[in-house]
Each structure stands twice: as C-alpha cells, then as structure tokens.
C-alpha cells in the first residue's frame, strides 16, 4: 500500500513538476520508481509529546508520525489520522503550515493534492479542507470552517463539534482509520527535522553528528561549527526617480525588492575510518620482508577522515523595512521649513511582511520580497533593511538579525528639483 502511495507521489512530483526545486525536495527521498532512496532513513513511528492536544492531568497528548529523514536533517512526516485531525484544528500550534511542501491523498488513491508554502498553488485553507475531506469529515468541516480555523476563530470548530450531526465525527474518523484508508494520508516535507513537529529523534541526531572516538585510537580533531553568514540586498526597482506621492498625480510610488540570504551552518568533524590494510609479521624481531611463512598477517589501517554536514537555517519571521535617514529628517524639519512653513514628517518608517523563501540544495536559505507602489510621502534618503530571527539548527541556537541591504531616495519638486 505504502509503495503504491510513493509511486503515486513520484508520478505527481516528477511528471507534474509542481514542487519548487528551491525547497527541500521530494526527489531527495524517493527515486523515479517510488522507492525510498538508499540514503533515506526510515525512523518508523515516532510518538512525540505535544502541547496542542487536549490536556489531561498528569498525561501529555502524544502525536504519532511515521518519519523518514536524511542525514542532512531533511524530514518527511506522515501523521496518523488522529494526529492529523488535531493538527488540522490547530494548524499554527502543530506546525502543520510550517512544512515546506505537502502532499495529500484523499479517497484512497483518487486524487493527489500538492501544496507548498513557496509554491503556493493551494492555499492553507484548501489544504486543511483537503485533510478534512480525506478524513471523511467534509460534511462538518467545510472550507468556511477551515478559513475560520486559520483566522484563529476556534469557536467555529467548537460550533461544528457541538452541532447535532457532528456527534458522530469520532466514529467517522475511527472507521476511516480501521479501514486503513486514512491511516497516513498526508505527507509533510520539512527542510530540517528541528523545524518539524516531530523534532530530531536521537537516532537521527546520532546520524547527523560525528561518532565518538574509540578509546585508544588516533586522536581526531574536535568538530567545529561555522554559522552561515546573513546578508541582505535591497534596491529600488522602479521608477528611476521616485517622486513623493503628494506631488505625483498618478501616485506611482516606489517598487522595491528585498533579498535575504542565510548561509548554511557547517559542521566539520573527523571520524576514525578504515582507509586500507597493511601487512605485518606477528613474530617479534621480524619484518614483513623476512617473516617466516604463516606469520605474515594483515591488519586494518585507521585514519581520521574529515567530513562536513550542512544545515539550513530558515528564519521564523522576516520583515523588510525602509527608514528615512536622520539627515533627511533634520532637513525636512529644518531647511524645508523655509520653503514650506509647518513641514512635518508624514511617514518616515515603513515595514512589510510576506515574501517567499526556502532552502536550496546547498542548504542556503534565500528569501525575496517585492514591494509594489509604496506610497512614499517624505522626501529624502531611505535605508532599506531586512530584520528577522531564526530558530537555529540542530547544532546552533536561534539568532536575530538586522541587515542593511541598500538605499534609495525620494524626490520633492520645488522651483528646482532638490533632494
């Protein structure tokens, strides 16, 4: 059954080609025949205590996932039907929407729906609606309810559950599970196990980290961790000269482009490995050249071999900013007052959220945001910055950042054009 699902996924992923290659890739996990690739580790069923299940005294709720992972931390999770139900009614808390790409199978193998945060070909509400359809609950959990869930209106879910017909939803869910139709119907791809709801199980951490040295063996160098550089680029895209909107009858505004790059975190470690064999004579005072017959033996040669592992460090949030420079503020409140008594700062600080990003094959995170027609009101020089924070990687803690990526100037028309 699972093999058939993998084949189906591959047909869709490889032939339809809807998954963005910039993200962690389904192709890293499955070959063209739907088989797991050799490097993929089947971590089996993982049971993880979570805080987004209903609380009971002395007992935490447990989420159940079937987990596949690569040594670089890329992870595929297949939640059980019960877990998926609770993920769908708690999409933010459960990390359901943090997946870089998502696959759903509903009504057996009839339909496959793909969704990716960066790809954006189905909305989060549609994705949650798909889950409810797959669980057989579409009669009660409509797209409107999925919308309400995403807007944080939990009472909408409660109204459904408390409604007359919905007193049978657990039976529907249980029947779906018993028939194995909905046991694992959704696949969630995460660029890093640390960002997945299942976290990084010890078996996976062991794979990702250097193995400890064998006592008495040649001493290998201690591992080093190098954090990736964070950099930003930002620029005015159009028009060539931005006129403050108060003087522009067309209200053209400014088109801006922001880019963020977070380099991969690199772990370098040495591991004692057998690199070959050598001959020796097991009789004292003899060498391999004059060793009596029957005493020439072979033994392994161990050497420290250097390895590197890289981790992507995606941000938990990013924001683009444009800030009027202090010198321009002083000019508006100073010199400009000679021409326009009462001149004041209209809106010197701007910020925008959104954009799209993902980890590429080298585990470098790239994010881009295009701002259209920003209605700049104050003339002067604006510094363009990207601000945010990351959750770190399995080997590093999170960090915040503010990177200045560029600047642009907005013009004011006077008797002569001045800045």
């Amino acid at each position: 059954m699972r093999k058939a699902l993998f084949v189906l996924i591959l047909v869709v992923v490889l032939c339809v080609g809807l998954v963005k290659p910039a993200q962690a890739d389904w192709g890293d996990f499955f070959d063209e025949n739907g088989n797991l690739r050799p490097g993929v580790v089947d971590l089996g069923v993982q049971k993880v205590p979570v805080d987004w299940m209903p609380d009971l005294p002395f007992v935490d709720g447990t989420a159940t996932y079937h987990m596949y992972a690569l040594p670089n931390g890329e992870t595929v999770l297949m939640p059980s039907a019960t877990t998926l139900f609770f993920m769908a009614v708690n999409p933010y808390e459960s990390g359901l929407l943090d997946a870089s790409s998502r696959l759903s199978l509903m009504e057996g193998d009839k339909l496959v729906v793909l969704g990716g945060m960066a790809g954006g070909h189905i909305t989060p509400a549609e994705f949650i609606g798909t889950i409810f359809r797959g669980l057989g609950l579409e009669k009660y959990f409509t797209t409107e309810i999925a919308d309400a869930i995403l807007k944080g209106d939990k009472s909408a879910i409660g109204s459904v559950l408390a409604g007359g017909d919905a007193f049978r939803i657990f039976q529907i869910l249980w029947n779906a599970m018993k028939n194995d139709k909905a046991l694992y119907l959704t696949f969630l791809l995460y660029g890093n196990c640390a960002n997945s709801p299942a976290g990084c199980p010890p078996e996976l951490v062991a794979l990702m980290r250097p193995t400890p040295q064998v006592p008495g063996s040649p001493s290998c160098a201690a591992p080093t961790v190098t954090r990736g550089a964070i950099s930003a680029k930002a620029a005015l895209v159009a028009p060539a000269k931005v006129l403050v909107v108060g003087q522009d009858p067309e209200k053209r505004g400014a088109d801006l482009r922001f880019e963020l790059t977070i380099g991969p975190t690199i772990v370098t470690y040495e591991e004692l490995e057998q690199t070959g064999t050598e001959q020796y004579c097991d009789l004292k005072g003899y060498t391999t050249r004059n060793c009596p017959k029957g005493h020439l033996k072979e033994r392994p040669i161990y050497e420290c071999v250097r390895h590197t592992v890289s981790y992507c460090e995606p941000p938990t949030w990013v924001m683009a900013e444009a800030t009027l420079r202090q010198s321009s503020r002083d000019w508006i409140l100073g010199d400009l007052q000679w021409y326009y008594p009462g001149a004041y700062l209209h809106k010197p600080d701007w910020s925008w959220r959104g954009g799209s990003g993902g980890c590429d094959g080298s585990n470098t995170y790239r994010w881009t945001l295009n701002v259209q027609k920003a209605q700049i009101e104050d003339p002067g020089w604006y510094d363009l910055k990207v601000r945010g924070a990351t959750a770190g990687t399995p080997v590093t803690t999170g960090r915040s950042f503010v990177e200045t990526g560029g600047a642009f100037d907005a013009w004011l028309m006077m008797t002569t054009v001045i800045r």
Partner: protein
C-alpha cells in the same frame, strides 16, 4: 350412640374450620368489596449525570497495570457498545494518551465531586461539567480536573459520547 373424637381429629377439625372461615372471608372481600387498585408511582427519567460522572472517572483512570484494552473496553461499555461514537472516541484517544501512560508506567485515578448540567440540547444530548480530583497513584500527587462530558440518550439509558475538546467548551461558553 356415642361418638368419640380422638385428639388428632379435634385438631384437624379446628384447622378445617379456620381454612373455611379464611377462604370464605377472602372470597367475600374479593366479591363484595372494591379496593382501590394501587397506581404506580411515576419514575422520573434519569438524566445523564450518572453516565457523565462514570465516563469521566473511567476516562481519567488510566492504569498501566490494567492496560489500554481494559481502559477502552470500559469506555466502550459506557458508550453502549463497539459501534458508537463514544467507543470510537476511546479508541482514538487511546492513541493520544496511552503512549505516555505506558512509557511512564502511570497509574492514575479520578474522583468526581460535582456534576453540573451546562447544556441540554433537548434531543437526547446533554453536556455535563464534571469537577473532581485526579490523582497520580504512584506519587500520591493530586490535581483538580474539570471537564465537559457529552452524553446521549439511547432509549431509557444515557451513553457516553465524548469529552469535549477545548474548542467545543469555548463555543459553548460563547453561546450560553
């Protein structure tokens, strides 16, 4: 002619007279007197309180020594059988809570102190707010436990349906 009666004969005679008198009396009463027939006292239809309390007590009594199957079976009994929403709920929630119970070898008990009817839908569905104390039987530690329990009426019996999710409680409280 002299007729002599033995002592045994005298006793039998007296008994026969008594039987005749009593039997005639009973016949007379049945025939000539109409006694008011006793009217049955109407028995109030019980509400779901008892079921709600029993269900929550069973739900929060997770004992590793009794096992998951016994826990599910107890809730399924209270739900009225295998093919019920309450039983399905028990099966699903076993997956959510029992891994933790098994891993930590938990033995938990619950004692209800109060049950208040918070919603009667009028169609055989009720929601009860049950308050009580949960106890870790391994450590003796106690915690208050207050949950909303949905019960459904099936004929004259109330059956366990499910313990309300936080979202349901929020919705109930938002629409009193």
């Amino acid at each position: 002619m002299e007729i002599k009666l033995s002592t045994l004969g005298k006793i039998l005679g007296v008994l026969a007279v008594i039987v005749l008198v009593l039997g005639g009396g009973w016949w007379g009463v049945r025939t000539f007197l109409t006694l008011p027939t006793p009217t049955p006292t109407p028995t109030p239809i019980p509400d779901g309180r008892e079921t709600a309390v029993a269900a929550l007590t069973a739900f929060l009594s997770m004992d590793v020594s009794e096992g998951q199957d016994a826990w599910v079976a107890r809730l399924c009994d209270l739900a009225g059988g295998e093919d019920t929403n309450g039983c399905a709920y028990a099966h699903l929630m076993a997956e959510v809570y029992w891994p933790n119970v098994l891993r930590d070898k938990k033995r938990l008990g619950y004692e209800a102190q109060e049950a208040v009817l918070v919603r009667d839908f009028g169609d055989g569905r009720q929601v009860w707010k049950v308050s009580g104390t949960a106890k870790d039987l391994n450590t003796g530690e106690t915690k208050p436990g207050e949950f909303h329990v949905a019960v459904v009426r099936e004929g004259d019996a109330w059956r366990f349906d499910h313990v309300l999710l936080p979202q349901e409680v929020e919705a109930l409280e938002a629409n009193p």
